[in-house]
C-alpha cells in the first residue's frame, strides 16, 4: 500500500516503471487474482445465502428490497458461505484482539497445530528418505517393503488414529508425539515415492563413471544420487509439509480435540459456526502456504548453490 502511495508522489514515469516492476514481482498478480476471487466469493455469498435469508423475511413477514437482501446475506450469523469480510473480522478478532495465551486465540491454536505439524513433517521426511535409501539399495526391501508401504497409505488414518493414540498412551507416549506421528504417517509417503524416483534418476553414464572409480555405495549415494534427487526431494517435501498439516489437524480429533486448529474446526462445525470454521480454515491454509513457501525458498537457495540451471 505504502509503495503505491509513494509512487503517486514521484510522478508518472517512475510510476510506470514501478508498475512494471510490480507486474514482474508477485504483489500485483497475487492481488489481482485475489481480487478476482473475492469478487466471485461475494457473488456466491449472496447466491448461497439468499434462500435462507428469504426464509427469514418470510417468517418475519417483512418487506425487503434487493439491497436489503445483499446486505443481509453478508451479515448472517450462520451463513452457508460467510462473506470474506466476516471471515477477516473473525480472524482479526481472534488473533489481534485476543491474548495469544487465551483459549479463544486462533494464534494459540495455530501454534499448537504447527508444532505437531513440524515435528511430524521432520520425522516423516527423515523416515521417507531413509526408506527410499533402503529401497534403492536393497533389492529385498524394494520387492517386499514398497508394496506394503503403499498398502499402509490406503488405511484410512482417521480410523486407526484413535487406536494409535490409545496404544501410544498405553506405552507412555502422550502430548505432542502421538499427533505428530499421524502427520508422519501421512507425510512420509510422498517423500518415499519421490525419493525412490529421485535416487534412481542419475543417468547411466554418471553411474558408470562412479563404477569406474569403484566408488562405494555411500560415495555413489552422497556424490551422485543425493544431488541428483534434490529436485524430487523439494517437490516431495512441498507435498509432504502440506499433508503433514492435514495430518496434524486430523490427529487432533482422536486426541480429545482439546486444542489446535482441528479442534477449532470441529467445534465450529459442531455448533454450525461457519464463520469460525472459515477463519480456522484460512489460518490452516495460510500456515500451509507459509510452510510450502519456506520449502520453496530452501529449494531456490539450494538450487542456486548447485549451479542454478537444469
Amino acid at each position: 500500500m505504502s509503495v503505491t502511495a509513494s509512487a503517486a508522489n514521484t510522478g508518472a514515469a517512475p510510476a510506470a516503471s514501478l508498475l512494471r516492476r510490480l507486474g514482474q514481482g508477485k504483489a500485483l498478480p497475487v492481488s489481482l487474482v485475489v481480487a478476482a476471487i473475492l469478487l466471485i466469493w461475494y457473488g456466491f455469498t449472496v447466491y448461497l445465502n439468499t434462500p435462507w435469508q428469504i426464509g427469514v423475511y418470510e417468517r418475519a413477514g417483512a418487506e425487503w428490497t434487493a439491497a436489503d437482501l445483499v446486505r443481509d446475506t453478508m451479515a448472517q450469523d450462520r451463513p452457508v458461505l460467510p462473506a470474506p469480510h466476516q471471515v477477516v473480522a473473525e480472524i482479526w478478532k481472534t488473533t489481534v484482539e485476543t491474548r495469544p495465551t487465551s483459549n479463544r486465540s486462533l494464534l494459540k491454536h495455530a501454534w499448537i497445530t504447527l508444532s505437531s505439524t513440524l515435528l511430524g513433517f521432520a520425522i516423516g521426511t527423515l523416515l521417507g528418505v531413509l526408506l527410499a535409501v533402503g529401497i534403492v539399495h536393497n533389492r529385498a526391501m524394494d520387492r517386499s517393503v514398497m508394496p506394503w508401504v503403499i498398502a499402509s497409505q490406503t488405511i484410512p488414518i482417521l480410523a486407526i488414529a484413535p487406536m494409535i493414540i490409545v496404544v501410544l498412551n498405553a506405552v507412555g507416549l502422550s502430548g505432542l508425539l502421538p499427533k505428530a506421528l499421524i502427520s508422519t504417517y501421512l507425510s512420509f509417503f510422498p517423500v518415499v515415492v519421490g525419493m525412490v524416483k529421485g535416487f534412481r534418476s542419475p543417468e547411466a553414464i554418471q553411474l558408470d563413471l562412479m563404477r569406474t572409480y569403484n566408488a562405494s555405495r555411500p560415495q555413489v549415494f552422497f556424490k551422485l544420487r543425493w544431488p541428483a534427487a534434490l529436485p524430487y526431494l523439494f517437490t516431495s517435501m512441498k507435498v509432504a509439509v502440506a499433508i503433514s498439516l492435514v495430518g496434524a489437524i486430523v490427529g487432533e480429533l482422536p486426541t480429545g480435540a482439546v486444542a489446535g486448529l482441528g479442534a477449532r474446526l470441529l467445534a465450529g462445525s459442531y455448533y454450525g459456526q461457519t464463520i469460525q470454521i472459515w477463519a480456522a480454515l484460512f489460518m490452516a491454509a495460510a500456515l500451509a502456504a507459509i510452510l510450502v513457501a519456506l520449502v520453496g525458498l530452501g529449494q531456490r537457495l539450494v538450487t542456486a548453490r548447485m549451479g542454478g540451471r537444469s
Partner: protein, 260 residues
C-alpha cells in the same frame, strides 16, 4: 613373455537385446595389450569400439568369451581402481563446478585435501582450463567440457587409461597440444593406454599398435604395429614412414567397410 598382458580378450562377443531384436556389437574379438603399450582403436561409427572399452571397464558383461585386465577379471580390476576412463560424452555433474568435478575421483579415492588441490590445479593446467575452476559445466563450451572430463580421468593417475574419443571436439591446435602432452605423460610414466579415435593421423601419431575394427558385428580386421620410435616430435607426421602406416590403416578401414 616377460610381462603379463594388461588387457587380454579371447573370443569376446557381446549381443544387446533390444525391443526389435538382438544387436551383435562384438563378435569373437581376440586382442592382447601389453604393459606400456599405446593402443588405438579405429573403425566406423557403431562398430563396437565403445562397447569393447566398456567390457574392459566391467561396465558391460560379454555374452561369450573372456577378458582379463592385469591378469584379473574386469570386475576385480575395476575394484582395484586399475584404470581411468574418459567417456565419449563428457558426463560432468551439473551441480559441481569444474574443479569439483575433477576432484570427484580424488574425493572418492580418499586423497588429502592438499593433494586434491594440487592435482586438480595440475591437470586443469594440462588441459588448458586454468581460470575456469569455478564455472559450472553448462558455462563451458563443448570442447572445454570434454577437456574437463579428460582432466578428471587423469587426475588420479591410473596405470591404465581407457579413452573414448577424448579429443573429438577439439580444434587442431589444442588437439596437437594434448596429443603431445599425452605422449609425454605416457613416455614418462609407462602407462598403458587404450584410445578410441576417428582420426587416422592421430592414431598413427600416438600409438604403438592400431586396432582396426569393422562394423556390425564388430570384429577386429587388422592390427597394425607401429614402427615409429617412442620419441615423436609433431613433425614426424610428415615422414614417409608415418604416411605409410596411415595408408595401411586407411586401407584396412576401407577393406572392413567393403565387406559389409
Amino acid at each position: 613373455m616377460a610381462q603379463a598382458p594388461v588387457v587380454e580378450a579371447r573370443g569376446l562377443s557381446l549381443t544387446f537385446e533390444t525391443n526389435d531384436g538382438p544387436v551383435q556389437a562384438l563378435s569373437n574379438v581376440d586382442l592382447t595389450v601389453g604393459k606400456g603399450e599405446f593402443v588405438s582403436f579405429i573403425g566406423p561409427s557403431g562398430c563396437g569400439k565403445t562397447t569393447f572399452l566398456r567390457v574392459v571397464a566391467d561396465l558391460e558383461q560379454p555374452t561369450a568369451g573372456h577378458v582379463s585386465v592385469n591378469g584379473l577379471s574386469p570386475e576385480a580390476a575395476r575394484r582395484a581402481r586399475a584404470y581411468g576412463y574418459v567417456f565419449q560424452a563428457a558426463g560432468l555433474f551439473p551441480w559441481r563446478t569444474i574443479e569439483k568435478n575433477v576432484a570427484l575421483p580424488l574425493e572418492i579415492m580418499g586423497f588429502s585435501a592438499a593433494e586434491q588441490k594440487e592435482r586438480v590445479a595440475r591437470t586443469l593446467a594440462l588441459v588448458n582450463l586454468t581460470g575456469f575452476e569455478r564455472k559450472y559445466p553448462w558455462q563451458l563450451s563443448g570442447g572445454m567440457q570434454q577437456r574437463a572430463s579428460i582432466a578428471r580421468a587423469l587426475a588420479f593417475d591410473a596405470d591404465l587409461l581407457l579413452m573414448d574419443e577424448p579429443f573429438g571436439a577439439l580444434d587442431e591446435i589444442v588437439r596437437d597440444h594434448l596429443n603431445e602432452q599425452l605422449l609425454k605423460l605416457w613416455a614418462r610414466t609407462d602407462k598403458t593406454i587404450c584410445f578410441v579415435t576417428h582420426s587416422i593421423p592421430e592414431a598413427v601419431y600416438l600409438s604403438t599398435k592400431i586396432v582396426v575394427m569393422s562394423p556390425r558385428p564388430g570384429r577386429v580386421t587388422d592390427i597394425i604395429e607401429s614402427t615409429l620410435p617412442k620419441e615423436r616430435p609433431l613433425d614426424i607426421r610428415e615422414t614417409p614412414e608415418f604416411l605409410e602406416i596411415a595408408h595401411r590403416v586407411r586401407e584396412g578401414l576401407r577393406a572392413g567397410m567393403g565387406d559389409e
